[in-house]
């Protein structure tokens, strides 16, 4: 699975479990404009840490927070590369 498909699968699972309705999961989807709330986001971070063993949010500045789904995928791609190095 690619990073994008892993993240999309987790978002779909979390929103399904929590009865959230999401727009199409495109790269330019703005996360804050959806029903994917802070608790959903915390769950996503927990599950991604299980998959990748990394948590890119541990040392981030608020200004770096991902805005779109594409930003989020890129953030995890960079974290996975940094972790493997």
């Amino acid at each position: 699975m690619t990073m994008r498909s892993t993240i999309v699968a987790e978002i779909e699972a979390i929103t399904r479990d929590h009865d959230k309705t999401m727009p199409p999961l495109t790269d330019d989807m703005v996360l804050m404009d959806t029903e994917f709330d802070s608790l959903c986001f915390a769950l996503l971070v927990a599950r991604m840490e299980d998959h990748l063993g990394v948590d890119p949010f541990g040392t981030m500045e608020v200004a770096d927070l991902p805005v779109t789904l594409g930003d989020l995928v890129a953030l995890y791609d960079r974290a996975a590369v940094a972790n493997a190095a």
Partner: protein, 244 residues
């Protein structure tokens, strides 16, 4: 038979932490005791406990960069973490006006910051699995006050605020968060107190005695158990009625 559920107990090499670890092991949990180093008392308790129920993992909790790797190691070696008991703490006394800055900082670092960060890393797995128990060991000093323990009191009060708000954050994911507030308990931490002071406290308590580590351990075991499934965001005082 189902696999025993794993519970981390910090500061479990002695005193209240060791009593909590032994009690949870006897109740059928797999306990991972965390402290800087093991102790003869812990080794003896682990030998007496049901086989494979008490494990030790060395970690200096003050090294906050070690907490995430610690949680990963526990999960790899012992499976998903069902419970966390934040018990490790230091009780450095001192008048605030003359307390060295580093002593103030160390108290806040170990008693407040470390349990918060450890909880952050542990609670993620609980949230993902939809169940879990967190118990924070506070103190009656958090709400009564005691001369020369202002910083310690502040750290213990912080655990209560942390407990209440975190219970709201994670409640709908099936995770409970509670605190216990022991009174003066006969442990190494209170050895510095002189005998007359101990007698005075015992005499003032409703039950005319001090609670002991097993009393606190039983309260924690209840909060970790399935029986406490509808108890969250609360503080259970165990002080033989000294604040009654």
């Amino acid at each position: 038979m189902s696999e025993p559920r794993t519970v981390i107990v910090t500061g479990a090499s002695r005193g209240i932490g060791l009593a909590i670890a032994s009690t949870l092991a006897a109740e059928g949990f797999r306990v991972v005791a965390v402290a800087r180093r093991s102790s003869e008392a812990f080794e003896a308790a682990a030998t007496a406990a049901p086989a494979g129920s008490m494990h030790f993992m060395a970690c200096d909790l003050g090294r906050t960069d070690a907490l995430q790797p610690l949680v990963r190691s526990v999960r790899v070696e012992h499976g998903p973490i069902y419970g966390l008991v934040n018990n490790a703490a230091i009780g450095t006394p001192g008048l605030l006006a003359t307390m060295p800055d580093h002593a103030v900082s160390d108290l806040v670092h170990l008693n407040t910051l470390a349990p918060m960060l450890l909880t952050k890393y542990v609670v993620r797995g609980m949230m993902a699995s939809g169940s879990g128990r967190i118990v924070n060991v506070s103190s009656i000093i958090a709400f009564t006050g005691y001369n020369a323990l202002s910083v310690y009191a502040a750290t213990k009060a912080s655990m209560i605020g942390f407990t209440r708000s975190l219970s709201r954050e994670v409640g709908r994911l099936g995770v409970t968060v509670n605190a216990v507030a022991p009174g003066f308990i006969e442990t190494a931490l209170t050895e510095g107190m002189d005998e007359s002071e101990r007698e005075r406290i015992a005499k003032r308590s409703a039950l005319r005695r001090l609670a002991d580590p097993d009393d606190v351990a039983n309260a924690v075991a209840y909060l970790v158990s399935d029986k406490a499934r509808n108890v969250t965001g609360t503080v259970l005082t165990v002080d033989a009625g000294s604040t009654a």
